[in-house]
């Protein structure tokens, strides 16, 4: 009787041990999802800074001009102009890493015409401003936007001769395109780069101008998401 008891107990001790290992649920794999949120950035600057490649200015390069300020800057400059269409050397750069479209426009309520004041009298000169790459002929002369150019590049233009009663810029109704759409631009690597809009100026016909005076104008641009 004792011998039978020992044999049977031994079997029972072995079996549960095997049973435990076979059914244990040890986690041997794990996963860690990771993510990066890239915030939308919209920036605009007017500058005559000469970038290596003005058509592919990156946000990092733009920041070097912005001085670390992501806000908009106003360009203050004196620019000699003529009756010929002149490339001012200034560029309006728009950075937009959103998938949306922006609207660039002239803020007419804050812009003023090219004017001078002498003894309480305002004198005006005609200002014709073009923003965005102008087409050229075979000899490199600038041509009007409406002559060619259908390359989907953004552009605007505005012609002003005098001021409204409140002093704001008065715009020739036939010579204006006060807004354009700007989407994000990409370089060959697929990176987002700035959209570059050159600024051209010509005086065309100076009306009742006193040429010995210094004239100045203020053109304010707005940039907003559509």
């Amino acid at each position: 009787m004792k011998k039978s008891l020992v044999v049977f107990l031994s079997l029972m001790l072995t079996l549960p041990s095997v049973f435990l290992v076979a059914t244990d649920d040890m986690p041997s794999t794990g996963n860690l999802p990771v993510l990066v949120e890239k915030a939308p950035i919209i920036a605009m600057i007017i500058t005559n800074h000469q970038f290596t490649n003005e058509a592919e200015v990156t946000y990092e390069e733009l920041q070097s001009v912005l001085g670390g300020d992501n806000g908009n800057l106003k360009a203050v400059t004196y620019q000699a102009v003529s009756k010929d269409i002149t490339d001012t050397g200034y560029r309006l750069y728009v950075y937009n890493n959103t998938s949306g479209t922006l609207k660039l426009s002239v803020n007419t309520s804050q812009s003023t015409p090219l004017q001078s004041v002498l003894s309480g009298t305002n004198y005006y000169m005609t200002l014709y401003l073009r923003i965005g790459y102008l087409p050229t002929d075979n000899e490199g002369n600038y041509k009007e936007y409406n002559t060619t150019l259908n390359n989907n590049l953004p552009y605007m233009y505005v012609k002003s001769t005098t001021a409204n009663n409140d002093g704001t810029i008065k715009i020739d109704s036939d010579k204006r395109k006060l807004s354009c759409e700007v989407t994000s631009a990409n370089n060959s690597k697929g990176e987002v780069v700035c959209t570059c809009l050159p600024i051209y100026v010509d005086l065309q016909d100076a009306t009742a101008a006193v040429t010995a005076l210094d004239y100045s104008a203020k053109i304010v641009f707005d940039l907003a998401a559509l």
């Binding site: 008891l5 107990l9 029972m12 860690l32 999802p33 990771v34 990066v36 990176e191």
Partner: protein, 191 residues
């Protein structure tokens, strides 16, 4: 005589039968104290980076720890320590191997917009790589599996490793605004 002999035999059989029933009953109650065998196991869990561990924990201790596997981690540029750490368990007395695989962070809406990044499990250098001769693994988001064999678990059952992610700040410039995601998959097995 026959009648007497038959009665004696019958009485003996009855005694044997009763004894067998008694034995079986006592064996059944003796088999309860069996769960003292130590199972040999290896495993991993993701835990909070600040959680302390007992390096000699038992299997039941390990199984009781909350596993953060599948919990999302937000990254930023430069070398960033993860909110989570890797806990390896090994009481099997054998060498184990950890395998890591992940791919570039990718824009959830545009698969061709990606951000490369690297992963360091273990002590990290200022550049985001594993410190020289340290116990751990360094991998970049090429999509290929990278494996390493942790230091032996002599006298311990558990070891905790910090996790670091590194994104080159330049790789975050000039990107479309979007959410870029990836998943790091870890698996452990015996060598």
């Amino acid at each position: 005589m026959l009648g007497k002999n038959n009665k004696k035999s019958l009485a003996l059989v009855l005694v044997l039968t009763l004894s067998t029933i008694s034995l079986f009953s006592s064996i059944g109650s003796a088999s309860i104290d069996v769960e003292t065998e130590l199972p040999q196991n290896i495993g991993l869990k993701l835990i909070d980076k600040n959680d302390s561990i007992d390096e000699t924990m038992s299997v039941s201790d390990f199984l009781a720890i909350d596993n953060k596997s599948g919990t999302s981690q937000t990254l930023s540029s430069g070398v960033v320590q993860s909110n989570y750490a890797l806990l390896l368990f090994n009481n099997a007395g054998v060498d184990i191997v950890l395998t890591v695989v992940f791919q570039n962070l990718a824009d959830t809406n545009a698969s061709d917009k990606t951000i490369p990044f690297s992963l360091c499990i273990g002590p990290v250098s200022s550049g985001g790589t594993l410190l020289e001769n340290a116990d751990g693994v360094y991998a970049v988001s090429e999509g290929n599996a990278v494996s390493f064999t942790p230091a032996s678990f002599n006298g311990i059952t558990s070891r905790k490793y910090p996790i670091y992610f590194t994104i080159n700040p330049a790789d975050l410039l000039n990107l479309h605004s979007a959410t870029y995601t990836s998943t790091v998959t870890l698996s452990v097995g015996a060598v």
